[in-house]
């Protein structure tokens, strides 16, 4: 049973706690000071859309690289009345999503849901939910690599300078070479976007399919990189454009006319899969909540007829 997180007034107070309470966890695991620092940094991030704000990332009982950045944001924001959804690759029951959700629930006791419409905080890895999110919600994205320039400039010192000077030519040259060689840009996920016409940002490894959802959205997008220790944000109604040449437009993925084998959707991102028995290739919606609700609606229609 987690106890409320009031900072200790003094070491004397801490020592007078019964021994077993000294080993309990604060609400939402992190101490209040740490949570406050994350929130302050997030405010700065929101004030400068797309700009990476360094923060003193705490270690958590989840390995680095497995979502500690997104987790710190969620832990810093979540309150007892929030409703939480955690997804990975669009699925609520993906093993890592389960693990993260369990830690958050264990240290907060908050209600959870798989229905995107009912969540107040959604933490996600590699997908944005198909259901358009609203101004009452926050989407927290887990970031493996916050630096969009990393592959053209490994040094963070030089990359910072490029951001400061707004000089993204190293990135653009890479896109030029792609078009020369392959006819279009070959970046598949982590497609670089320009935010508020200023900073180029890495939107995390979401597929191209999800990139247009960042543009002028109602929802607040928060990005956390725990291992690399950076936070950034896209506030509501911000312009977010994928980097593209005027005459070589940005295109999202195509599925060759395939439909989800469960709900029949053609309008969602599909995962290719292999039938374990027949070996045949099938497609299923990546967003399990979207798929499940569609199936329920179809069944309802059928029974209504």
């Amino acid at each position: 049973m987690p106890h409320t997180g009031r900072p200790m007034a003094s070491i004397r107070e801490f020592l007078t706690l019964p021994r077993d309470r000294q080993r309990r966890y604060n609400f939402a695991y992190l101490d209040e000071h740490s949570k406050r620092e994350v929130r302050r940094r997030l405010l700065k991030a929101v004030a400068i859309p797309g700009h990476q704000v360094p923060f003193a990332s705490r270690e958590l009982p989840i390995a680095r690289g497995w979502g500690t950045g997104g987790l710190q944001i969620t832990l810093a924001l979540i309150g007892p009345h929030d409703v939480l959804k955690v997804i990975d690759q669009g699925a609520d029951d993906s093993v890592n999503a389960v693990n993260l959700r369990q830690l958050i629930v264990r240290t907060t006791g908050v209600r959870t849901t798989t229905d995107t419409r009912h969540a107040t905080v959604v933490q996600t890895r590699h997908r944005i939910p198909e259901e358009p999110m609203t101004a009452d919600q926050v989407l927290v994205l887990q970031v493996p690599e916050p630096e969009p320039l990393r592959h053209v400039e490994p040094s963070t010192v030089r990359a910072r300078r490029m951001h400061a000077e707004g000089d993204y030519s190293a990135m653009w040259v890479r896109l030029y070479e792609d078009v020369v060689r392959w006819g279009e840009v070959t970046i598949s996920s982590q497609y670089p976007v320009r935010v508020h016409r200023r900073y180029v940002m890495d939107p995390t490894p979401i597929p191209r399919w999800d990139v247009p959802r960042l543009h002028r959205a109602e929802v607040l997008y928060l990005f956390g990189a725990g291992r690399e220790k950076r936070l950034y944000a896209v506030p509501p109604f911000t312009e977010v454009e994928p980097l593209a040449f005027d005459d070589v437009p940005f295109r999202v993925e195509e599925f060759g006319g395939a439909r989800c084998r469960r709900c029949g959707s053609e309008a969602s991102f599909l995962n290719a899969s292999f039938d374990p028995v027949t070996g045949a290739r099938t497609f299923v919606c990546s967003d399990t909540d979207y798929c499940t609700r569609r199936m329920a609606a179809l069944r309802f229609e059928e029974t209504a007829r």
Binding site: S169, Y176, E177, V180
Partner: protein
């Protein structure tokens, strides 16, 4: 731009490496015969350099190695920060702003739009890991061009103009001969139509036969495009061929400046006489 105003005006450009003391400039120079300050061991690479370049002209700087001529170019382009001095470009705030004191965003603009630089070693001016076309495209992308087709067409056009086979534009320059690499560098430097091109010993590492071809190209480009140039070389032959006016440098100072023909025919300074005598 005021009519008759020079394209570039440099006043008192000085670059000293090391701890620097008040006597540095006074205790070095061609009269003393050294660049190194005897008191603090700083190296006075160049001092009190003043020159003027008019639109469309080729200005030469000649001197042996260590004379400071490359340093002047590097300071103008922004590869080095001068110790003191000022440089004014007619296209920058009508010649009022000092290039050396420009803030970073402005300096970036100067390097991409107002100046072009061609280095002695192609690896300094080209990115060997990119195709030649991409090297030129980089300059265009730096100034905000976003139309792939037009960028590629312009790159093609520049390569044609510098006599690089267009069929090789998607190859990295490391596969090219030295002469061709230099021509790609020149194409790259011209990408954004800068009013001034800086050329630092561009033919010095090339074979004599290849040199001639590149020099002809430079002359041809200057004639056709009307771009002003500052050509730095230790070779009087190159200077004679290209420059209308020339400055002679020794031990970090300009010892003589004037019309190239006059300097070569009737050198005034002792050192210039030595130089002309040795190379003629």
């Amino acid at each position: 731009m005021t009519a008759g105003a020079p394209l570039l005006r440099v006043d008192g450009l000085t670059k000293i490496y090391g701890s620097c003391c008040p006597a540095c400039v006074a205790l070095t120079g061609p009269d003393v015969g050294t660049n190194v300050c005897p008191r603090c061991r700083s190296v006075v690479a160049c001092a009190d350099i003043s020159l003027v370049v008019d639109a469309g002209e080729i200005f030469g700087i000649v001197g042996e190695s260590g004379s400071g001529k490359t340093t002047v170019l590097r300071c103008l382009y922004g590869d080095e920060r001068p110790t003191s001095g000022c440089a004014r470009l007619a296209s920058l705030e009508d010649g009022r702003a000092n290039v050396f004191e420009a803030p970073p965003r402005r300096r970036h603009e100067i390097r991409t739009r107002l100046l072009g630089m061609v280095y002695q070693h192609p690896s300094l001016g080209l990115r060997m890991d990119l195709s030649s076309g991409a090297n030129i495209a980089e300059r265009l992308l730096m100034v905000g061009q976003r139309h792939f087709g037009r960028i590629r067409a312009r790159a093609q056009g520049l390569l044609e103009r510098t006599e690089v086979p267009v069929g090789r534009m998607d190859e990295p320059p490391r596969r090219f001969s030295g002469g061709m690499q230099q021509r790609v560098q020149i194409a790259k430097a011209l990408a954004n139509d800068p009013p001034i091109l800086l050329l630092d010993e561009v033919t010095s590492s090339l074979d004599a036969s290849v040199q001639a071809r590149v020099l002809d190209l430079i002359r041809e480009l200057q004639r056709r495009l009307g771009v002003a140039m500052i050509v730095v070389s230790h070779d009087l032959g190159v200077i004679r061929l290209l420059a209308s006016r020339t400055a002679v440098m020794k031990d970090g100072r300009i010892v003589e400046v004037g019309l190239t023909d006059q300097i070569l025919e009737d050198p005034q300074h002792e050192y210039t006489q030595l130089l002309v005598g040795a190379q003629v």
